[in-house]
């Protein structure tokens, strides 16, 4: 039995379209591009006290421009700090005394690493370590500090407050 | 071996409703055998039993001397290719046109090349007088034409046994005459063993070699057409002469009518 040509054409079209869709999803939507079409990179280490929500494959930016991504995050068992391995694109030559901060995109966005270049003439090499790092801003800690401040303020205002409460209860 | 199909002590029931209690029936090779009986007596069921689409509770059906219900799938398919069953409704494939309908069994069961299939199909359509409809869809045919296309499709595989389930109902007199001639032609020229299930007493008796009348799950009368017409049996007489009153009830078995209407104690 033969299949009619227009049926074959349409089925072929369906297959083609789904292959296009698959490659679109693979290379444009998901991060698979970075597995396959790897740009030349070199690895750099940095240790943080607290990385907050930083994930693998988070981007590293300099002045907002993407210059690499986080490859691996693990705990350094000796220092009990987080060891972050980053892949920096080979074309970027960075001063050796650059510093790293963990920032958040928007209020609720994902974390990324912001690199602030230093002034040294020497540049970072494969396997180098960035010494100066700033931990992530943890919202809970910030709020905790804020509350602590408020408490101090509260103590001063306590008298006033209790009076007001009294009034409320009576009325 | 003179008997094409033999049924012995067949017992079959459906939803606790006994259809055949003890049926014995023989279909002779190369002859026209007619099976008659009132509506609902199980004629269609009988044909489906022969085609092994239904399985009997007890008893056996021998096709070419082999129990058709004990064959393996492959043997059964081969046996089915040797028998043609023409359903009461034509049962044409609605998604294929007339040509493809007739070509279907050939394409599925043989390795014939396209041009051979084309010639064969056109020959068979010519036999039933419908070569001109080859490109129509089944929905564009009248029911009589559809039945003839189904006949062409059934004979396409050159079966040795062909069973017609009520081929004459809903046909105009001319078509009926043509169909009868066709059935006789197929029987005489190709030597097909023919089984006709019908209520049309006159037409059927005129072409049958042997007649069975079934009623109430049993064969109540059998013999050559003249013998059937002369039979003393009350049921046979009632059926052949089309009498309204007699021992064959018009009603499906039911509770007492008066009781059903709530008049039992009146």
């Amino acid at each position: 039995m033969r299949v009619k040509p227009h049926i074959e054409i349409m089925v072929g079209f369906l297959l083609l379209l789904s292959i296009v869709a698959l490659s679109f999803l693979a290379f444009k939507v998901s991060g698979l591009k970075s597995y396959v079409n790897k740009p030349e990179t070199y690895l750099v280490h940095a240790e943080f006290d607290d990385i907050g929500n930083l994930k693998e494959r988070a981007s590293i930016r300099l002045a907002g421009v993407r210059i690499g991504q986080v490859v691996k995050i693990h705990l350094n068992p000796e220092t009990f700090r987080a060891d972050v391995v980053m892949a920096i694109y080979r074309k970027n030559n960075l001063p050796i005394d650059s510093s790293l901060r963990i920032l958040t995109e928007g209020l609720l966005g994902t974390n990324y690493l912001a690199l602030t270049p230093g002034y040294s003439d020497q540049s970072l090499k494969e396997g180098a370590r960035i010494e100066e790092t700033h931990s992530a801003m943890i919202l809970e800690n910030l709020i905790g500090q804020l509350l602590y401040r408020f408490k101090d303020d509260d103590k001063k205002d306590q008298k006033k407050h209790s009076k007001i409460e009294h009034k409320v209860v009576i009325s | 071996m003179n008997q094409h199909v033999v049924m012995e002590n067949l017992y079959f029931e459906r939803d606790n409703h006994i259809i055949f209690s003890n049926l014995n029936l023989k279909i002779a090779r190369n002859k026209v055998t007619a099976i008659m009986g009132p509506s609902g007596s199980g004629k269609t069921t009988l044909l489906k039993l022969i085609g092994a689409q239904l399985y009997p509770k007890r008893g056996k059906i021998l096709f070419n001397g082999k129990n058709i219900h004990h064959l393996s799938r492959k043997e059964l398919n081969n046996a089915r290719c040797q028998m043609g069953l023409l359903f009461q409704e034509a049962a044409l494939f609605t998604h294929l046109n007339v040509f493809e309908n007739v070509a279907f069994p050939l394409r599925e069961n043989s390795e014939l090349l396209d041009f051979m299939i084309r010639d064969l199909v056109l020959m068979h359509l010519e036999t039933v007088g419908l070569r001109g409809t080859a490109l129509l869809k089944p929905s564009q045919l009248s029911s009589g034409m559809a039945r003839r296309v189904a006949l062409a499709r059934t004979i396409a595989l050159d079966p040795s046994l062909i069973m017609y389930d009520e081929p004459f109902t809903g046909q105009d007199p001319i078509t009926m005459a043509v169909l009868m001639r066709l059935i006789q032609h197929l029987n005489r020229v190709l030597g097909l063993t023919t089984v006709i299930v019908s209520h049309d007493v006159q037409e059927t008796l005129s072409i049958a070699d042997y007649v069975y009348i079934i009623f109430d799950g049993k064969v109540v009368g059998e013999g050559r057409p003249q013998k059937i017409l002369a039979s003393e049996n009350l049921a046979v007489q009632q059926f052949t002469h089309g009498l309204a009153d007699g021992i064959i009830p018009f009603h499906y078995p039911a509770e007492d009518y008066r009781k059903d209407l709530g008049l039992a104690d009146a």
């Binding site: 299949v3 074959e8 869709a21 444009k28 998901s30 928007g106 | 089915r80 595989l157």
Partner: protein, 260 residues
């Protein structure tokens, strides 16, 4: 009370029997796959009828869903000044959930009902019986190709749905809401993982295609032989397969997220 218990018992027994019956039916039709040379054209034909015919409705729905999602997402994310995350929201919700599920629901409505009605009609008009009498096994000739076609086509449709929905969302975000295209894509890329998200989307598509065609084919094959029976079978094919798809989605999501 006793009546109720009796009814419960009766119905659960009936349900169990149905389940067993449909499973046997499934096995019977799947195990008929003996002649590749003949089966392959049948499969292609069914992929055409099942897949290509569903393509248009799936593309149109996907485009609209992607666009609406972008608008709604933007509206909400803007409140937290996080509209740069729109691409991520869009891609994750489409690839993980909406793509497979909506695709399956549309597929049930478009192809499932057609399968059930067609097979039901063939059964009612004794086409399957006469096919059997020609020595052709209807399970092999009619049921099995439809089943496999549904199974193969669904993942393809899901992929296409995902792509079109994301492109639709892109259109709205970048052309209408004037978000930055670079941020849109790069945020999406940093959050969507090919293996856990896209591959799971395809796996869900496979599972849903399996369920929808199983239900539809079974309902059609065992439809009572009359017009009412066919219409009921068609309705049931759509309703049951939708319910099964949603239930199965819960289980699959739990497995994929929880890593059981």
């Amino acid at each position: 009370m006793l009546d109720f218990v009796q009814m419960l018992g009766h119905n659960s027994l009936k349900f169990t029997r149905r389940l067993g019956g449909s499973f046997c039916f499934l096995c019977a039709s799947l195990l008929r796959w003996p002649r590749w040379r003949r089966s392959f054209p049948l499969l292609i034909e069914q992929i055409y009828f099942i897949g290509v015919y569903s393509l248009l409705i799936i593309i149109i729905s996907a485009a609209f869903i992607g666009m609406v999602l972008a608008l709604q997402g933007h509206n909400t994310l803007e409140k937290f000044s996080a509209s740069s995350q729109l691409g991520q929201l869009l891609a994750l919700s489409v690839i993980r959930e909406l793509g497979p599920v909506i695709c399956a629901l549309l597929f049930a409505g478009r192809a499932g009902s057609a399968i059930a009605a067609e097979i039901g009609l063939m059964q009612t008009t004794e086409q399957l019986a006469s096919m059997e009498m020609m020595g052709v096994d209807p399970l092999w000739r009619i049921i099995s190709p439809r089943f496999w076609a549904g199974f193969y086509v669904m993942p393809l449709l899901v992929l296409i749905f995902d792509m079109v929905a994301i492109l639709g969302g892109y259109l709205i975000s970048v052309d209408w809401l004037a978000l930055d295209a670079g941020t849109f894509w790069s945020n999406m890329q940093s959050s969507v993982d090919f293996y856990t998200d896209v591959v799971n989307s395809v796996l869900k598509g496979l599972a849903f295609g399996f369920v929808v065609t199983w239900v539809s084919v079974y309902q059609g094959y065992y439809a009572p032989p009359n017009a009412e029976g066919i219409s009921h079978a068609t309705t049931r094919a759509v309703v049951y397969s939708s319910v099964f798809v949603l239930g199965l989605d819960l289980i699959l999501t739990a497995v994929m997220l929880g890593g059981w």
